[in-house]
Symmetry: C2
Subunit: 171 residues, 2 copies
DNA sequence: TGTAATTAGTTTATACGTCATCTATTTTGG
DNA sequence: CCAAAATAGATGACGTATAAACTAATTACA
């Protein structure tokens, strides 16, 4: 790729984020500004999600696991659960530990391959999830409210492009 | 291990993400899909940033603090640093501790208000940062490469709208 | 058959986000 | 001038991300 691109093509906006961060200098590139906006926006929204779930005694991570188990409808091997979350293998053990101690999942060793441990969701957890569904949907709507339906599609498209590219060039 | 999947009757509305997550049902709303895309994309990109910084012995959080201190050009009160990062007050202490132990910042108690502790960046840290600048910019460019300049602006605009709304309705 | 390689999962260690609580130092108000 | 409120920061506890090293069960292969 040529770095001879008209640099002025990419003059970053004198954005709101620059002011939020009390940055003295404008961003060096649109790429950097977009990156920082993504990070910043994510963390703001993440906090709201976590707070909502905390009212039900769950962390975002725990909620994700329960959602996966509910969606699947039957117990899954622990590593299969891990592969569907962000958390890598080692972290999953403690996560399942805490969920089990709270009575929301149960472990069950496979009879055919004794290395495998299945995790299943319990009825109380299903009940808990059903109570969370509506408030969480409401939160998502509330958060996305400033965006039109078209804007939401556009956002999804842009993010998908980034993710798609990233998974093709993991380095 | 059984892969007895019956073909799902529901017609997936759009998403690659749905497939990524092995979700059986499509998303319930654009808001939810956009939210999940944001979370997922962020975590993928975040990992790449962290890995790059790890090669220089820094975490993302530590790097942020050093960037702030370099940008400011003079020592800042600890709480001022905290206010410019995502991390709230309590977490900042340990962060500064570790940075200090590594020799990248130094603490200095204010003479006028003895409650205040200033944090300043050291010369070795400045040197370290200067070595990181280029690779990090390259990474940002690489990550944003699939987006045109116009798309980048659009992404920034959408994210700013979300953040702006969120900060007005912190709930 | 017996040993090496794989695979599933745990343990340990470091770093960070978040909350509640604590100390030390101003500042304020009667 | 002194007690109460406010402020700066530290501490401790819990949950999570991440990597490295480990155990135990299974499979591959010579």
């Amino acid at each position: 790729m040529s770095s001879n691109k008209k640099p002025d093509n990419s003059i970053p906006s004198a954005g709101k984020l620059q002011h939020e961060l009390k940055k003295k200098k404008p961003f060096e590139s649109l790429a950097q500004e977009a990156w920082l906006n993504l990070v910043r926006t994510h963390s703001q929204l993440q906090i709201r999600g976590e707070r909502m779930l905390a009212e039900f005694g769950l962390t975002g991570c725990q909620y994700n696991i329960l959602r996966i188990l509910r969606g699947e409808g039957h117990p899954l091997p622990i590593l299969e659960v891990a592969s569907r979350t962000i958390s890598p293998v080692p972290g999953i053990t403690g996560l399942i530990d805490r969920l089990e101690k709270a009575g929301w999942v149960c472990r069950e060793r496979s009879t055919t391959d004794r290395r495998v441990i299945y995790v299943g969701i319990t009825d109380p957890a299903l009940e808990l999830l059903s109570k969370i569904d509506q408030p969480l949907n409401d939160l998502h709507e509330e958060i996305m409210q400033p965006l039109s339906q078209g804007d939401r599609r556009e956002l999804i498209r842009l993010l998908e492009q980034l993710r798609c590219h990233a998974s093709e060039h993991p380095e």
